[in-house]
């Protein structure tokens, strides 16, 4: 009898085996005030080999090859028939990820990234058009939000209850790479708790410095009310990212007074004040100092693509009058967990501290001329592109 049941289970269990011809649909819709019938929608696929040492989530960008293309239908929806043979690893050693994207006639674009292999049903949140062009007013980037702004919030992460989450990210990019990055949702760690605050996207001359490039705006929309469901499990839909119709060209003129200053313990010329946006390994130094001569009043410290262990940076200002002014900044701002250089250090008390990287601006309000600036990184500075003090 056991053998008969084995036969029966093998027979019927073929229902559970991977058939490369199975269709794993991707479906979604496009929203615009203008007609969208016939608008192309693409699926790109990236296979991230495990063996190359790449870490972190697999993210398909615009360089990933297109595997499917379709058009928006009369009802604004689109549907892809992706075969399991191209949607899930079938013996290929690597992680699969996908990007579904569309570009509107206005130049606005929207996409969604699926950082895993496709599942049996893959709904995508609606793609809205964002036909705006951002501008700068008083050092603040001004723009219409991508969707109606959800209610403002300042509450702990655990109490966050808005179903729609929207944030905007600013990236100031030049040929040398990313100069400045900021989000309009600020995350703070206060007394061990995480808090969110919405703030303007500042792009004052201190952030632009004397670099030239483009200001690229991106909105990330997550609608928690939209869920995908298959059989007895459900999942949240991946966020939608939207770009407006145009970018903003920008040329800065302000040069920080720290340009060219030495920064012991590094040998001159200091790689962090040379105005060249190269990534430099900082060797986990815990301290940098800059001599300000002649002493002067300082306004803001800007750190570009700074990677350090832990979030805390302490800035100590030695004043001309002998006093000391200091501030400890723990904001994570546009700091992200560093997947590419995953690392941890152990604190003296035994806890672990991850490597975080991002773009930081720390206000300096000493109220008196400063003759020395000391930066302290409690758990070490791993890497940085540029350091500027205005």
């Amino acid at each position: 009898m056991r053998a008969l049941w084995f036969v029966t289970l093998v027979v019927l269990g073929s229902a559970c085996m991977s058939n490369p011809d199975e269709i794993l649909p991707i479906r979604g819709s496009v929203v615009s005030n203008a007609p969208v019938v016939g608008q192309p929608v693409l699926v790109r696929r990236k296979i991230q080999p495990f063996s190359t040492g790449s870490r972190g989530p697999c993210l398909a960008d615009q360089s990933a090859p297109v595997i499917k293309e379709t058009q928006v239908e009369a009802d604004g929806g689109y549907r892809f028939r992706v075969f399991r043979a191209e949607g899930q690893p079938l013996g290929t050693l690597g992680q699969f990820c996908f990007r579904v994207e569309t570009t509107f006639p206005s130049g606005s674009s929207a996409w969604s990234e699926l950082s895993n292999a496709l599942s049996l049903d893959n709904p995508i949140a609606p793609f809205p058009e964002w036909p705006v062009a951002p501008g700068i007013d008083g050092g603040v980037l001004v723009f219409e939000p991508a969707i109606p702004m959800p209610p403002d919030f300042f509450q702990s992460f655990t109490e966050f209850s808005s179903e729609v989450q929207l944030d905007h990210t600013l990236e100031f990019v030049s040929d040398a790479g990313l100069i400045w990055k900021a989000r309009d949702v600020r995350e703070e760690v206060v007394d061990g708790g995480r808090f969110f605050r919405r703030e303007s996207l500042r792009l004052g001359d201190a952030f632009v410095e004397d670099f030239a490039g483009e200001v690229r705006l991106r909105a990330t929309i997550t609608d928690l009310s939209l869920r995908g469901q298959y059989l007895f499990y459900e999942n949240a839909l991946p966020p939608v990212q939207v770009r407006p119709a145009r970018d903003l060209a920008l040329q800065g003129t302000r040069v920080p007074f720290t340009r060219g200053l030495a920064c012991p313990p590094f040998e001159p010329p200091c790689p962090f004040t040379d105005g060249v946006l190269d990534r430099v390994d900082a060797g986990q130094v815990t301290r940098l100092s800059l001599e300000v001569s002649p002493p002067r009043e300082v306004e803001v410290l800007v750190l570009r693509d700074v990677a350090l262990f832990g979030a805390a940076i302490e800035v100590e200002l030695a004043l001309e009058d002998g006093g000391v002014w200091s501030v400890e900044d723990k904001s994570v701002g546009s700091t992200d967990f560093n997947f590419e250089e995953f690392a941890l250090v152990t604190k003296p008390d035994g806890g672990l501290v991850p490597l975080l990287s991002g773009y930081r601006a720390i206000g300096l309000d000493a109220g008196a001329p400063v003759q020395r600036v000391i930066l302290k990184f409690p758990y070490g500075l791993a890497r940085m592109r540029e350091l500027s003090i205005f």
């Binding site: 036969v7 269709i23 075969f83 298959y230």
Partner: protein
Amino acid sequence: MALRAWRWAWCVLAAAGGASFAQDAEFASSPEFDEAPARARLSGVVMSKGTRDPASLAQFSIADGGVFLGEADGDGRFSFDVPPGELTIEVSAPAHRRRVVHEKLEPGQEVEVLYRLDAEFTRPYETVVRGNVDRTELARHSLTGAEAHEVAGTSGDPIRTVMLLPGVTTLASGLSYPVVRGSSPAATGFYLDGVKMPQLYHLLALTPVVHPNFIESVDFFPANAPTRFGRVSGGVVSLQTAKPRSDRFHLTVSPDLIGTSAYAEIPIVETGTNITVAGTVTYAAWVLGIINSAVKFDNGMIPTFESYDYQARIEQKVGKGNVRLLAFGSSDVGGFRAPESPNGLPNALLATSRFHRIDLRGQLPLGPGVIEVGTNVGWDTIGLDGEDTADRKATFLLNRFLATARANYRAQVGEHFQLKAGFDFEHQNTSSTVTFGIGKTGELLRQPNVQGRFTGSFVEAAFLSDKWTATAGVRVDTWHLAPSFTLVSADPRIDMRFQPIPELTLRANAGLAHQAPMLLMSLPVSDVAALGSGLQEVGQLGLGATTRFEFLGNLEASIDGFYNHHFQARERSLNEFVTGVSTLDDDYVGARWGRSYGLELMLRLPQQGRFFGWASYTLMRSERMRRFATFDENQFVTGERTAMLPFTFDQAHTLNITAGIQLPHQIKLGASFHLHTGRPESGDFGSRTMRLIDDGSGSQQWQPVPLDQVDRLPAFVRVDARVSKTVNFSVLNAELYLDVMNTFGIPEVLGNEYLFEGAPGSLQGLKRPLAVPVVLPTFGVKVNY
């Protein structure tokens, strides 16, 4: 020789003495010496031991070559005079062992005796000629008696015997769902006295749901079944229930370790009522309990299995007609229970299957023919239950209720013509209950009900002569899904037989058949719910001949060629039905077509005397147009193709040889040999062929191949054996039997595992067959009264 000489001498002397005595008597005759000595009378019955059957034409004689006393009549009765005194009498009867009895009779005494003789063999094999067989409905193959119940490897199940006929292959050894001429198993309809059977085996794969003794004969139509069988596109297996013998009550009880079955025939002569009942009750729990104490399953899981089935047939003469009530059904629950529920999961997973059918039919002569009207109702349920101590947490059940009504009329018109017409109506209410609960009372999903109404109308005309039988008919079916979806189909059929000489029969047939879309096997809901994708439509064409060699014991040799064209192949994917995930091929099902063709050869020795058997060979190709993706090793889809590919169940060669023989001392032996070549490893049913690819890092991986590149599974050979011994008691006998399917435990490869083995850094790809030797031993005893 010496004894005979002595007897002869004694007779001469006796004669001489008698003559002398007579002469003396002549001279000494006087009234006081004229009285003949008084004789005794011996009367009685001779029976076959272990039965209540007479030993007809038994002969009696004085032992040691003495006087022949007499012979019993056909009822085993005898009565004759014997000399008084002590007698040693020899009793002998055909096919029985001689017996010597001792009697002592006084002069003038009359003694009534009962003698029982041991049969040398069990009842000889004989080909049963059923009366009133409709020539227009002659099946391609009919199995009765030993051919239906004593074939090695079938455990006495007539349905399993069908698997050994030409044109029939199987899903897997041990699973007796026939693939007839390359069609899906669900395309073959099984009927018990005209009532369609929703299920053949307990929990789809175990013992049959109908007691084998309840089935007297099996008629198999591999194609072009009579027009009264509708809404079936493949073969038809028509099971005829055993009509009870009218002599007396008969009972057979078959106990074994896990259950007991019983079969009874109850004739009531006074009222003209015949009752046949049968059933099986499984009490496997105590056996499973023993197994559980010996084998500890994970998490303390306890296997459970409860099952029963019943069949009842009551036929009553009513005036010139008769009324028949047929009821049959089964219920099964099997699975595992755990003592407690870990992590909130169900602590019991139980598979359940049950069905009930009640059919009432009346037949009455009407005019030149016979009219039959009938109705039946039925309930089916199949599925899974996950239970816990508080409440059901997960249920997946398919339910069906059906009610039918039918009327047929058959009339003989003149000497050569026969006409038939009929109508049937069926109402089905099907539903699927799918609940996945969160907590005690939650449910996420419930499927809606589906209602279907079907009708079938047929007319058929036949011409019959000594040499010719020609039948032409047409059947029209309607398929209606509430509220407003209707399909109509028409099935013309023609069948011709020509017998130029008694030893040769030529036949040709052609027809069209329609069926609702089907899965691997017929399940409630699955066919009705899919009517929207259209009907399965098959054109069937067959040519054949049978010849009989009288000088070889009436050996029959037959050859049949067939071609089935699947104009519309609506064979749905089981995977899609279960998971809802469709493939490129599933999307193509609305346009899919196919064909199957082949040759069937059969040599058959009809049942006679002490031997029966046959050999069948099928050469066949079954293929379907399929749509699939082609892709390279980097999993980039290079295109979508449509190609004619071998069907899921295509097996090119099938060979069956089976035989049974009766030996002295009521021993029977049987053996069967089966061979089939492998089916495609397409993933529809088991694994999918895989290839080794280089993943670009120096390592290899297994990757499924496109559908047009799959391999075939290896061929399979199996030998079955059966032995039985009948022990006779006074009025009952016990037959002990051992039937083993796959005696040598040869594993059948049902798929492959694709693995790696070796040390890290030097792994080698390994393709390992997925095979378990399915051995089905059946040891039982049948006590017959």
